[in-house]
Every structure is written in structure tokens, then in C-alpha cells.
Symmetry: C2
Subunit: 342 residues, 2 copies
DNA sequence: TGGCATAAAGTTACCGTTAACGCAACGATC
DNA sequence: GATCGTTGCGTTAACGGTAACTTTATGCCA
């Protein structure tokens, strides 16, 4: 479907020229009144500002961006918007960028590689000052495009891999290991992994690897995996846990790929009459706001999302100002609650 | 702080001219190969595409937008990103818009009116094809700017008030009334309202009004309000509920402004030894993904966010194509769970 | 074989803004 | 009083792309 603005004629938005004409100065003087106010007589400036106010003038940044060398868009590419996974990151990132007059342009790939390529291309076409993107694992063409764009690229959330430019995040394999070691420390022996693992969710796969490695190191039997491609939800968790325990009744601990899934797992266990944490331990990931409110309260891992947002903003500004690229590790914390302490 | 691109010289991103030169045709032919492929010889088109691929050419939409009459940005202004409040709306909206090659530019006002003005101005400066914004209550200057922009403006989430152009949402006062009537129907008599109500959260205020009106109609005593300006969270809910019951032990039902707050209220009641739903009923708003997973499970109101996103996208496309402005009512549902059924 | 429609490419102007440069008016300097 | 640096503004030329128009090549028909 093609989309066009209705009729060109009707649109009559004011330009610098409208202001200039009204005040009786050149276009450039009006531009200067905006960009370099001190170069314009205060009295004239007042007239110009009044005219702008009156006509509801809004600068055209398409033109500004094309003409000037600077851009104030920052492209932000996330893989999901559901369930607060990255919302807090975007939130802090955006408000931090606002202080530098940088505007966020958002894209959501929904864990789809084709979509990612398309969206990155689309964002780059706006000639952003920088791009922040979730993850360090991207299709080759995406990497190529991002590199060719010749702007700061900040990869967020994950640091375990090859970085294009600058990364702000943490090593997900270690998270998985921490989950496993905690469960093992509590005496659990037959571990399972449950959740929504999208094909392109490399972070989930890394956490699983960490989990498996730690279990192997401890001499435990292989971790039983039961995952699905569809998005995470309590309903999914409930289904997966039920199916899992039907096939593997020996399981005594379940690590979930997200808290939302863990909520459903807890519900399933309640229905099956398995006591948590006595019979089965459950650990989540993400520190959903409700994790402390379900019962039993959920042991989980809290990534410092606010800090990722903040550090990403800092990295963007630093890199725009020609600082060297770097990797900023971000803390995360295992929050131990009732669901794993027996 | 001023931000500039490092050194103009170093940047060497390919333009249509680079492609044209390489293939040995005019700039315009390359442009046509993109915009109107059938007007270019297939053999030549192939060469052009190859050159674009090779040089990693990405069209410059600043230039395109300035030159052409169309824009494919849709500005989306939300008041919050926390706790899935609007994340699902953005998610569906974005993927629906993607099918029409429309790109989302996101802004988050955090319930701040000054910020709203600033962000709307910033978004309009990109000459978007349309703007979607949360709520129908905006500062006068914002309304003026949006009207002057002469593009489709879709107000989402709320319909109870004066609409600029087109609205997609529901009447929040009726939600409040439904909450009250449900509680009353369950035999609760001393109602309270608890939660985070930001100064500019007109929707929360409307729900409260509906709640109060329904209580008054039923001949109940005035609703006790205990709110805070800070953002909603379980911790806030816990604190507010504790303080509330200290001062008003007679309260036997609490309506919360959001589910996240309700989660904290439930926790407070557990600590205080008040049984839910027997001693006190609790109703939330928003249908947080965990609402069915806390215990007792939470009675709440589920706004159809996916539908709002979808209908907003439809409205945008329709209005861009000159359809008349309208108001689309969106369904919501009272989900009755354990927390109010005694 | 001339005339004419059509296809395929080139030319030119313009979108709104900014940067570089130019120039007049004026006060300070020696 | 000629020189010079400021201040304050105007002029002009981009930025990269698109649309309207023009030109050239090609095929078809009478």
C-alpha cells in the first residue's frame, strides 16, 4: 500500500522564510537567532522569537540534518518490548539522551533476523548520530551496515562475544552458572531449563550454556531442556512445567528463562501438588516487578537495567565526542527468595 | 553540552551520486531504480542494485523527506514505559505500521507536561506523517502545535474528553465505576483508592471519579484516597496500604490504580494478617502478566492494548489517506479473580 | 521512408536549513 | 585621520534526493 500526504497545496507549515519575511530580515538571520543567538541583536531576536511563537514555527530537521553535519537521532533497536524486558533500559536511555538533545528512534525486531536487517537499514537511513542495539550477535549484513555507517554503535545487554564498537552489558553465561551453582548449593541435583527461547535469542542460549557447564562441573546429570519458540508468558510456563514433570518426574529444580515463565511454572507446581521449595526449586531471570509478590516469592537474577540505559547514554555521548571504544561491564545480582531456599 | 560529529572529512557514506558514478549513469536513474524500478532497464537495474549492495548504500531519508512530499515517520508519545503499561500498545502499533513502511519515533514524557511540549515539538520537527499520543488531555500549547502540524493526530488510551482529531481508547470513568460496582456487589462497603497518581495522569483521575460516583450512587460513605506522586511499584503499594489501614482500619476494599501497586497491597495485607478476600477485597487495573499468578490471584481490569495498537495503526493509515476523523471505542474487561470473591 | 508513440535515460529546479563568505557601519587605536 | 578589528546582517552555495520536464533511441505502422 502506498501512502502519500493528501494534498500538498493545503499544507502550509511555516518555514524560516515565513518568519524572515514577517520580520523583514534574511532567512539566515532567523536561522542564526536559533543556532547562535548572540550574533543577533537582542531587539531583533525578540521580534523573531515572537514571530516564531505566533506562527507556531517548528524547525524542519530534515532540512537541518541534511544541511548541517550533525544529527540528533539515536537509533535504538530492541528485540522485544513485552514484559518490561527492555522497557526500563529504553526509559533511562531516553531520558539520559534527552539532556544532550538526542532523540530516540525506536525499532523492535521481535527476535526476527530479517526484521533486524530491515529495521537497521531503516534507522540508518535517518543518518542517526549513533545506534544502540540489543545484543552482540547480529546477522553479518547487519554488522556490515552498522560498521559502514561510520557512527558509534553501542551494543547493549550482552558482552559475551565479538563487539562491533562499544558494549554495555554482562556475560549471560555467568548468569546461567550462578543460577546453577545456587541451586546446587541448596542441594538440588536434577536440574531442568524451561522457557521461551527464540531462535535468535542468543542471550538465552548463553545462559543455558552457563547452566549446563556448571552442572557438568558439579558432576550432575545433563540438564533437561524443555523450551518453546513462542513468546514467554505464565501460560507457557505452566504448560512447559506440566509437560516436563510428566516426562521427567525426577526433576527437583527448574531454571526459567524469564520470571514471567517462572510465574506459570509456580502455578503448575501448585496444581501438581509439588511443594516449592521443598520438593522443587525454581529460579527465574529478569527480576520482574512481581517476582517478590508471588508466593513463594521468586529467586531470580536482577540485571541492572537502569545502569545499562545510563551507561549506554554515556557511551553514546563519549563516542560521539571521539572517545575510544570500550566495553562496560554491568553488574547483576542473584536475588535469593523463597522459591529456592529450603 | 554540544555534540558534533567528529570530523566531516572522515565520513564517507555512499550517496546516489556514488552509485551513479560507479555504474556510469545519472543520479536520477539510480533514484528511479529505487522508486520506480520498471522505468529502468532490467540489466541496468541489476548493475545499480549490485553497486548499492557492494557499497552498502543506505538511502538518506533526510534528503528524501525534504525533497519528496511524503514522510514515513510516525511520532509516538507515551507517558510511561514502565511495567508494560504501554509497551504492548507500542509493540503492536509498531509492527502494524511496519507493514505500511512507517517508522516509529518514540518519546516518553514520564507524565511531565513540560517534557510533553518539548518532545512533541521535537517530534514535529521531523515532519512526521502522523502522531499518536497517549491521552486526550494535553497542555494548550501542545494541542495548538499538533493542530498546526496539519497531520493526522491519534489520541490513544482515553476517549473521555475533547479530541484533537481521532481517538482510540476507552472511558476511564466507566472503568472506575465498574470496579466500584463489582466491589459493592461482593458486599464490600468501605472503599479506598490507593496508588501512584501523577499530576498529569488524567486517566487515573478519571477512574477515581468513576469510582467515587458509583460509591455515591450506592449510598456508601466517601472513598478514602491515599495516593503518591512517585511511580507505581509493589513497594509503594505496600507502604500506602499499611498507612491507609493504620488510619482507616474500617476499610474493607481497596481499588488500586495499577496491578503493580496492588501486588504490594496484597503483601501488606498478608503481613498485617488481613485475609483477602474475606476481610478485605482488592481490585487492580491493567492486567499485569503476573496478576493471575499472585495469591490470592488479583481481580483487575484488562484494557485491550493489542487492539488499541492495531486500531491506532489503522486510524493512522486511514487518516493519511484522507478518511474522516473518528473515535474508536476499545473494549475492556473486568477480570474477576480470587482477591474480590468471598 | 516518414511520422509518431513509447521507452529509457538525462537536465534542471527545488525542498528548508546551515556554513562560509562578504560587506557595511562603527568604535578603538596609533 | 587612515587602519583595523568587531558587530550585525545579507548572499550564495551546498546537503542528497525527487519530480517535472526534456532529450534521445527504438519500434511500429501506414
Amino acid at each position: 500500500m502506498t501512502i502519500e500526504l493528501s494534498d500538498k497545496v493545503a499544507r502550509n507549515v511555516p518555514t524560516l522564510a515565513s518568519i524572515a519575511e514577517r520580520v523583514g530580515v534574511s532567512v539566515n538571520t532567523v536561522s542564526r537567532a536559533l543556532r547562535a543567538p548572540h550574533t543577533v541583536r537582542i531587539e531583533l531576536r525578540r521580534q523573531i522569537n515572537a514571530a516564531m511563537e505566533e506562527l507556531n514555527y517548528v524547525p524542519n530537521r530534515l532540512a537541518g540534518g541534511l544541511s548541517g553535519t550533525r544529527s540528533d537521532i539515536v537509533g535504538v533497536v530492541v528485540t522485544s518490548l513485552y514484559y518490561s524486558e527492555f522497557a526500563n533500559i529504553i526509559d533511562t536511555l531516553q531520558s539520559a539522551l534527552l539532556e544532550h538533545d538526542l532523540q530516540v528512534m525506536l525499532a523492535n525486531t521481535r527476535y526476527n533476523a530479517d526484521q533486524e536487517l530491515r529495521l537497521v537499514r531503516s534507522i540508518l537511513s535517518w543518518r542517526p548520530a549513533a545506534v544502540a542495539i540489543i545484543g552482540v550477535d547480529h546477522p553479518p549484513k547487519v554488522v556490515e551496515l552498522l560498521k559502514a555507517a561510520d557512527i558509534p554503535i553501542i551494543e547493549m545487554w550482552d558482552t559475551g562475544g565479538e563487539v562491533i564498537d562499544t558494549a554495555v552489558g554482562f556475560d549471560h553465561a555467568r548468569v546461567g552458572a550462578a543460577q546453577a551453582n545456587h541451586l546446587i548449593g541448596q542441594g538440588y541435583r536434577r536440574l531442568a531449563f524451561v522457557g521461551s527461547v527464540r531462535e535468535n535469542d542468543k542471550r538465552a542460549q548463553k545462559r543455558l550454556s552457563g547452566l549446563e557447564a556448571a552442572a557438568a562441573t558439579a558432576g550432575l546429570p545433563d540438564i533437561v531442556k524443555h523450551t518453546a519458540q513462542q513468546g514467554g508468558s505464565p501460560e507457557l510456563g505452566e504448560r512447559l512445567a506440566t509437560e516436563l514433570l510428566e516426562r521427567h518426574p525426577e526433576i527437583d529444580a527448574i531454571a526459567c528463562n524469564s520470571d514471567v515463565v517462572a510465574f506459570g511454572v509456580l502455578r503448575a507446581l501448585r496444581k501438581l501438588g509439588r511443594r516449592v521449595p521443598q520438593d522443587i526449586g525454581v529460579v527465574g531471570f529478569g527480576d520482574n516487578e512481581a517476582a517478590s509478590c508471588v508466593s513463594p516469592s521468586l529467586t531470580t537474577v536482577r540485571p541492572d537495567r537502569e545502569r545499562i540505559g545510563k551507561l549506554t547514554a554515556e557511551a553514546i555521548v563519549a563516542r560521539i565526542n571521539d572517545a575510544k571504544s570500550y566495553t562496560a561491564p554491568v553488574e547483576w545480582e542473584l536475588i535469593v527468595r523463597e522459591s529456592t531456599v529450603r
